[in-house]
Subunit: 116 residues, 2 copies
DNA sequence: ACTCATTACCTCGTAGTTCAAGGTATAATG
DNA sequence: CATTATACCTTGAACTACGAGGTAATGAGT
């Protein structure tokens, strides 16, 4: 029942994580982020603009990102950068991500580690 | 905007993957799967019955699972097992899972591997 | 000049998912 | 006799990714 073309499964929250991660290194604009994700994942993950822009706006509204407009060759780019709040949120998401991936990995390999 | 109580993020498709994986090892019934996932992931992932049962029904309808009713102590259990189709689907999902996790991992650690 | 691809921003509707809460019924426990 | 555990199930709400579409400006090709 997935029947999606690009990234069929396992994508909830991933775009937000990637965007937040990229914007802690350097400031970028939306259109740039779309291509940066494609490049950084070696074509493995492609997120459209319809995914990126709404996340950018939501994160800014939450105080996770700051933005500034910059005119380049007559066109206007909106550059985003992660704030302190955004970095805190990124830490949370990375922890969540690790928790989930480790748990899934444990089940996929039938490792019955009886801990705790 | 997560504001979810149990597993806030990164959970799309994961229940289906785990269920399919468990049912390739031995046949299980719904209520058992709920607890098996909790146990196998060391409490890291908890999926409710409201998640498990619909997936079970959908997978059976797709031919990924076979079911048989078994009365135990007056109660009726519905045991599910993965079919050949189900195992094929599991292979697909595991491949997808690996692709996504590797891609995300590469971005999280700023590994700029210029390949291809 | 004219056309087309690229850059760069954006919104909307649809589909698919998880989740909590609730509903039914039997067996075991106190 | 009441409560918990077993065991099945459905439903409504909330969220998210996705594709398609819309607006403009720039640059290249012809």
């Amino acid at each position: 029942m997935p029947s999606r073309k690009t990234n069929p499964e396992f994508m909830t929250g991933v775009p937000e994580l990637l965007i937040l991660r990229l914007l802690t290194e350097r400031e970028m604009y939306g259109y740039e982020i779309v291509q940066a994700i494609e490049a950084a994942t070696g074509e493995a993950i492609k997120v459209g603009e319809g995914v990126v822009y709404p996340i950018l706006h939501a994160l800014e509204e939450q105080g996770c990102l700051s933005s500034r407009k910059k005119p380049v060759n007559g066109r206007t780019r909106v550059y985003y950068a992660a704030t302190a709040t955004g970095k805190k949120r990124l830490g949370l998401l990375m922890g969540e991500w690790q928790r989930i991936t480790e748990a899934v990995g444990a089940v996929v390999k039938g490792t019955k580690h009886a801990n705790a």
